[in-house]
């Protein structure tokens, strides 16, 4: 393994972006567990039922928790209600953004689109920008210089990570981008992954969002109350972000970069039913990355089929974090180091020929 540390350039228009293309890591062929077509077809099947049920519960929780927060406003009970509300709004909306962005939650297309737009607003991810950014994330998962969604960079920016526990950096950056987009412009990085024919949509949405964001602000001013801005807008995105971050870090943090095998760069973590409901089974992250066309309600079944070919899942988020925290801290002093996931004897071995120059040198 090479011991020469090199500063990574995570920018999509920097040195490592070009390097990824040259070394064959960009838009490359990834490892897939072999699953018979007949089985795959069954796993990919969609139905509206599960997502309709889960979304009805989700909206009921939002409404109920908001009502509780308002009813108990001024007292400590309100804090609990708003905590719950924020967890749903700024936390679990992440998983709804994700699944509906893939178009896999509902069988009926427009239902995915509606929930996607709502969830985007809640987590402050501009719908068109993040659809394309997530597409790139799936094409080039944790490829340095290509993946715009790497949250645990090396060496880690601990301050940024802590700020993002409350989505502070994300919200500030997003507000800036919305303002930019509303003027009909993109950042140079966004131009690398958003095709021209989609850019008008970005600008239009930014202008609409600016108008929508004015509503709770205006209401709060008119009513002389914080309640509207605590219910809609950046504030619930921020005070509820902790759940999204807690879950999201388990996906890839501390694992390999620049490899073409999701078994090396993604985690599957077993979670309790409440967490899995809030996270919409995104904890089956190896499975999801390998087969993104499988809807969330079939990921546990896919996991069982893939088990012989994948590393041992983590028993809980606590077990995952027992690995993640020391890994991230170690990467402060040794950015080349990462966790290597071990495969069971029944698995197809990792293929160095898929992993490019960086892994071949290890």
């Amino acid at each position: 393994m090479t011991t020469t540390a090199t500063a990574r350039d995570y920018s999509l228009i920097g040195r490592d972006s070009e390097l990824a293309v040259q070394s064959g890591l960009a838009a490359a062929e990834w490892y897939h567990t072999e699953i018979p077509r007949k089985t795959m077809k069954e796993l990919m099947q969609r139905s509206d039922g599960p997502a309709l049920r889960d979304t009805a519960i989700w909206f009921a929780l939002l409404i109920g928790l908001a009502a509780g927060g308002i009813a108990f406003w001024g007292g400590w009970w309100a804090v609990l209600f708003f905590f719950g509300y924020g967890t749903i709004y700024g936390g679990s909306a992440d998983s709804r953004w994700h699944e509906c962005g893939h178009g896999t939650a509902f069988k009926t297309s427009w239902m995915n689109d509606v929930v996607y737009q709502i969830a985007c607003f809640m987590v402050m991810r501009e719908p068109t920008v993040w659809r394309w950014s997530h597409t790139r994330h799936h094409t080039d998962t944790i490829i340095v210089g290509r993946d715009p969604e790497i949250v645990a960079m090396r060496p880690p920016d601990i301050l940024a990570m802590l700020l993002n526990l409350f989505s502070i950096k994300h919200v500030v950056v997003t507000v800036g981008k919305i303002l930019l987009h509303s003027t009909g412009r993109l950042t140079a990085e966004e131009e690398t992954f958003i095709p021209e024919m989609e850019r008008g949509r970005v600008y239009r949405t930014a202008r609409i969002w600016l108008c929508i964001h004015m509503v709770p602000i205006a209401l709060s001013l008119a009513l002389q109350s914080f309640i509207p801005v605590l219910l809609v807008g950046p504030l619930p995105t921020m005070y509820g972000a902790w759940y999204m971050v807690y879950m999201g870090f388990t996906q890839h943090a501390g694992l390999a970069e620049n490899v073409l095998d999701h078994r090396l760069n993604s985690r599957t973590v077993y979670m309790n039913p409440l967490f899995r409901y809030l996270y919409w089974n995104m904890n089956y992250h190896v499975e999801h990355h390998m087969f993104p066309m499988v809807p969330y309600y079939r990921l546990p079944a896919l996991h069982e089929i893939m088990k012989p070919d994948t590393p041992k899942p983590y028993a809980s988020t606590i077990e995952a974090y027992r690995e993640i925290i020391p890994a991230v801290l170690r990467q402060l002093r040794d950015p080349e180091w990462h966790v290597v996931r071990q495969l069971p004897a029944t698995a197809k071995p990792y293929r160095p020929d898929l992993h490019g120059a960086a892994a071949a040198a290890e």
């Binding site: 795959m40 077809k41 099947q45 068109t128």
Partner: protein, 104 residues
């Protein structure tokens, strides 16, 4: 110059499914609709290099397995991001129990 090539048998494809057919260095996708009609398109997604034959047919839609991009396989129309460019479609005919694709 158009050329009819036998791609598969009618029974080779389940209803609401597809198979891959390679010919002349090109990849085709042959579909059987839920109504039992046959269609053909280019076999690779227009967004990125992914074989549509690993994807899911739902009604008249083919969903690409890589990023869930969707096309109408009967018309080739791209149905929304991340697919923006339509699929090339090819004429299909059935003679007996064989499916022929026009590869011209």
């Amino acid at each position: 110059m158009s050329e009819w090539v036998q791609a598969c048998a009618t029974d080779d494809i389940d209803d609401e499914d597809l198979i891959r057919f390679d010919h002349g260095g090109r990849v085709y996708a042959i579909y059987k609709s839920p109504e039992g009609e046959f269609f053909a398109t280019a076999g690779i997604c227009t967004h990125e290099h992914a074989f549509l034959t690993d994807g899911l047919v739902m009604g008249d839609i083919i969903e690409c397995p890589k990023h869930n991009g969707r096309f109408n396989y009967k018309t080739g129309a791209a149905k929304g991001a991340p697919v923006c460019v339509n699929l090339i479609t090819h004429k299909v005919k059935v003679e007996g129990d064989a499916v022929y694709v026009n590869v011209g």
